[in-house]
Amino acid sequence: MSDATTNMTPDPMLEAIVGPTPGQMLRKRIFGHQGLMIGVVVLGILVLVAIFAPLLAPHDPYAQSLMARMKPPVFLGGTWEHPLGTDHLGRDYLSRLIYGARVSLLIGLVAATISGVIGTAMGVAAGYFGGKVDAVVTYLINVRLAMPVVLVALAVVAILGGSLQVVIVVLGLLLWDRFAVVMRSSTLQVRGREYVAAAKAVGCSTPRVLMSEIMPNIANNLIVVMTLEMAHAILLEAALSFLGLGVQPPTPSWGLMVSEGKNMMLFEPWMVLIPGAVLFVLVLAINLMGDGLRDVTAPENRS
């Protein structure tokens, strides 16, 4: 090709480009991580249940039957007509649980996405531009951290009235703080790397530097925070619904089911335990997944 290549002493090292691609290594780590796999499988099942709710639910979750109120579940002597029993209005508990998965997952996903967009934009801007932008964002984060989430959500819902949309938007607008903090610090880390300077020296515009150099390298942190905030949002929805200020009846929501069951808690404890247990399993699965993703993606940052 050129004099440069012919003059050069052949480098034996050059022939040996070994090792798997980062993608292959990542795949290996993902499938080797038990916690992550358990979380993904459980969450996957719950997502499938939510999607195919109309096919899976044995009854209409809204159909009341005063003749069949508070039937116990099968394992407490009930019948297979209502495998998990019925609530105080005679609605099938299993069907309501299945439809409730839709509410929880929808709230978790949408609220975490809204706050993810807000928090990431703020955090990346603060970390990348620094100076005054950083000062303003840090101030906003501090203001946000000074506000108790449940209290603010309660106040807003009390004023605007509770509905699925209101709960999603309120939670989305409240839960961006962790995104902003994490994205800011990871951007600060990546900003100083020489490949960012190289991209600038090549003539990349600032949006291009942000999107193609910074974002791919902080995306793993974003995914981890996203899962944690999803779990957080789901729990908050349950708490708000339990307090009567979240999703309004008759919408099936797990928090609402706990709330409706609490009057009967001493006589029919399963009415609280069943939705509580499902909520627990969902949040545990999401947290396992988040933890696993953090473990799996971290080693690449070190190399």
Partner: protein, 338 residues
């Protein structure tokens, strides 16, 4: 274009200063840090200017200013007589490209080698994807990498291979000037010479102009045609390579030369006699910045900053050489009593 050097400066720094404000503590008073203090430097077409100095003396800040990544606080940078800053960074990018120190940090770990090398072409919309692909293959040949690395990622490569990728990225747009910011200091000793030879061959082939930043005088002697020695944001001596290594003037340059490690048995670790550590750039010493460490310091060195004194090969900033100075002997310095 001819491969011979011309005296037409392709890159010129005129009285450039860069001052950072450093705030100490939450309520501390902001203090100026003069990273670069009134530096003038010119780079002729086809030459290799070595820039040497200790860590923290402002070498890398100078490189950032030349690349347009930082704006100088004072002074101007000219490329072919045109002031940069006024010109677009994109147009500048086609003429000046960097090779960075650490190939483990200068390649985006999330991108394939093909993406990394072709980025400049895509940013500047040069050619379609076919011709970009061909350009990447050609440049891989030139820097001595097999074509199959195109689909691999930086984490699969060794340091030397990564640095070749970085060189390929810098050269794919056929720039005129390449700023090499310590391109070998992060590499294994065995690989360093390969990269240096590659850089030398490429310079001859493409008629490149290098600004070669290093703290390794041996490397500079190997590659450079002229050398500038930097200390605390000032260029204290500028000379041709031969001049510097044979009859160096400035006591700091002499100390640097003495500090070069040699593999000769029994010689031990050289003693630079620089004594105290590098001064704090926030509070630089008065007068000549070098006087607290200078073995030949005179009384007025502590009070009067030295002027640049022209020498046959460049200039030197030291009272020892100032002819208006009583202490000047004019002769090359011989160390006495040390």
């Amino acid at each position: 274009m001819s491969t011979t050097e011309t005296n037409h400066p392709v890159l010129e720094l005129r009285n450039v200063s860069k001052t950072y404000t450093v705030k100490q503590g939450m309520f501390g008073k902001p203090k100026p840090l003069k990273a670069i203090n009134d530096v003038s430097l010119s780079l002729n077409r086809g030459e290799v200017l070595g820039l040497v100095g200790e860590s923290g003396c402002g070498k890398s800040t100078l490189a950032k200013i030349l690349l347009g990544l930082e704006d100088p606080t004072k002074g101007e940078v000219r490329v072919d007589g045109e002031v940069i800053g006024a010109t677009d960074r994109r147009t500048l990018a086609r003429r000046i490209q960097p090779i960075f120190q650490d190939p483990y940090s200068s390649l985006n770990p999330r991108k394939s080698i093909e993406d990394i090398i072709s980025l400049p072409l895509r940013v500047h919309n040069i050619g379609d994807s076919n011709s970009q692909d061909k350009a990447v293959r050609d440049i891989l040949d030139i820097v001595g990498l097999p074509q199959r690395v195109m689909r691999t990622y930086p984490s699969q490569m060794s340091g030397g291979q990564r640095q070749r990728v970085a060189i390929a990225r810098a050269l794919i747009m056929k720039p005129e000037i390449v700023i090499c910011d310590e391109p070998t200091s992060a590499l294994d000793v065995s690989v360093q010479s390969q990269i240096l030879n590659l850089l030398n061959d490429l310079r001859a082939e493409f008629n490149l102009t290098y600004l070669f930043i290093s703290h390794d005088l041996a490397v500079v002697e190997h590659l450079a045609t002229r050398v500038a020695v930097m200390y605390l944001g000032r260029i204290v001596e500028e000379s041709s390579v031969g001049g510097l290594f044979d009859t160096s003037g400035h006591p700091y340059t002499q100390a640097l030369l003495k500090s070069v490690l040699t593999p000769e048995a029994g010689k031990g670790v050289p003693d630079t006699e620089l004594g105290m550590e590098y001064p704090n750039p926030i509070a630089p010493p008065s007068g000549c910045h070098f006087h607290p460490r200078c073995p030949m310091a005179m009384t007025h060195c502590a009070s009067i900053p030295p002027r640049p004194v022209p020498t046959p090969e460049g200039h030197v900033e030291c009272h020892l050489f100032d002819s208006e100075n009583d202490h000047n002997t004019g002769a090359p310095l011989v160390r006495e009593g040390v």
